[in-house]
Amino acid sequence: MTLRVVDLACARGPAQILAGVTFAVAPGEALILRGANGSGKTTLLRTLAGLTPPLAGEIITAPDAIAYAAHADGLKSQLSVGENLAFWAGVFGTKDTSAAIDAFHLGPLLDRRAGEMSAGQKRRLSLARLLVTGRPIWCLDEPTVSLDAENVARFAAAVTAHLGMGGSAIIATHIDLGLPMAQTLDITQFVAKRIRADDPFAEAMG
């Protein structure tokens, strides 16, 4: 499942942030988004995920192919690991969660409350959630924030495994993940900050 983006323009609130964004991600490839804070990485990912309607351009991919994961990982602290995963499996319609549980060694943690886990364990659970969605294209926003070196390595291994199985990933991060097939895309080249084109209040009037 390749993801092709052609001449995409994204907006954050009243302002357009990016314009002319064009790239393609083939199965098995990873794309690292570089750019200063506020240069629109999150906005781009949210537009790819379909949360924010793009101002212009196209996102060409199979329907329901993109799984989005942001800082806020959508885990309920009162629910146990197993219940959280079962919930997301129910939402995404995947039958069993054992594959995701084994991939991130969550077996021993299954009935521990999500609220009682360390940041690293929580990150592993949110990655397991990604696996549960069963969607090939991962859009990850700063996935390795608040993770120590060991967990970052484990995260990189998980992404590599995902790429190995023909999935692809678009990751906004500042940390070098050492992924094999990773290209880097610096989105500062696409930054075109001005008022949204469909906002008629930009030019002077009486």
Partner: protein, 243 residues
């Protein structure tokens, strides 16, 4: 005559409204003065209600315009939702306070008029109460506009509220009739024009109504211009912040 969508662009609207405003304001002033003065000074007292019948020249037009203002907001919200017509959304925002003021006038004059006739300042009469509910709808609508940062989202959310609110306003209107039989007199200005009020009262009333109508139009045009400038101000500040 270019289509009304031509006015989607604020510049065109500003030019046209700048041209129209003095005329509409002038008409409003004339009709108001003529209507109210004629009604106040040159009409006889009613044999039953005495001089309080003179309140009709402000109570009825205000009540009619209060409802029309909400209908106008409903139409402009629909135009915004369907055609993303920016000026229409701002016109709805501009009309809300004016509609609210008309509702308060209708309530106040209704209550004052009710005192000598029904003996109490406030009577839970279905029509008077439905204006109280309309007042709450206006309050909620305006509060929602102020509470949201991004103007486009604010326009979307307030339009949805206006649409849903209108459905419930109609339901409330009939729920109230079910809830308490009214003391309010029948329709004063029904269109089939059977004589429910004598001609001598009727003419000044119609002129006063036109006065209120033009005043509403003038205020909405004027306030929409301000909303457009405020929106432009926001856009410029956003541009500056982007550097």
């Amino acid at each position: 005559m270019n289509s009304i969508w031509e006015y989607a662009n604020p510049r065109k609207f500003m030019a046209t409204s700048a041209f129209l405003l003095p005329w509409v304001a002038g008409l409003a002033a004339i009709c108001l003065v003529v209507g109210l003065v004629w009604g106040f000074f040159f009409t006889p007292d009613d044999f039953r209600q005495g001089s309080t019948v003179k309140i009709i020249y402000i109570h009825v037009p205000a009540a009619i315009m209060a409802v029309n203002a909400w209908l106008m907001m409903l139409v402009t919200s629909l135009i915004w939702v369907i055609r993303r017509h920016h000026v229409s959304a701002l016109a709805a925002k501009a009309a809300a306070p004016v509609g609210m003021v008309f509702t308060v006038i209708a309530l106040a004059t209704g209550a004052i008029w009710g005192q000598p006739m029904w003996g109490t300042w406030w009577e839970w009469d279905p029509r008077l109460t439905s204006f109280l509910i309309l007042f709450l709808f206006y309050l909620g609508y305006m509060a929602l506009w102020e509470a949201i940062e991004n103007p486009d989202s604010a326009a979307d959310l307030t339009s949805v509220l206006c649409l849903v609110g209108s459905v419930f306003a109609v339901i409330s209107r009939y729920a109230l009739l079910f809830w308490n039989q009214g003391l309010h007199q029948g329709a004063t200005l029904s269109l089939d024009k059977e004589q429910n009020i004598a001609n001598v009262f009727w003419y000044p009333l119609v002129i006063a109504l036109c006065g209120f109508g033009f005043l509403f139009l003038a205020l909405v045009l004027y306030r929409t211009q301000t909303e457009i400038r405020a929106r432009r101000l926001k856009a410029l500040i956003a541009q500056e912040r982007m550097g």
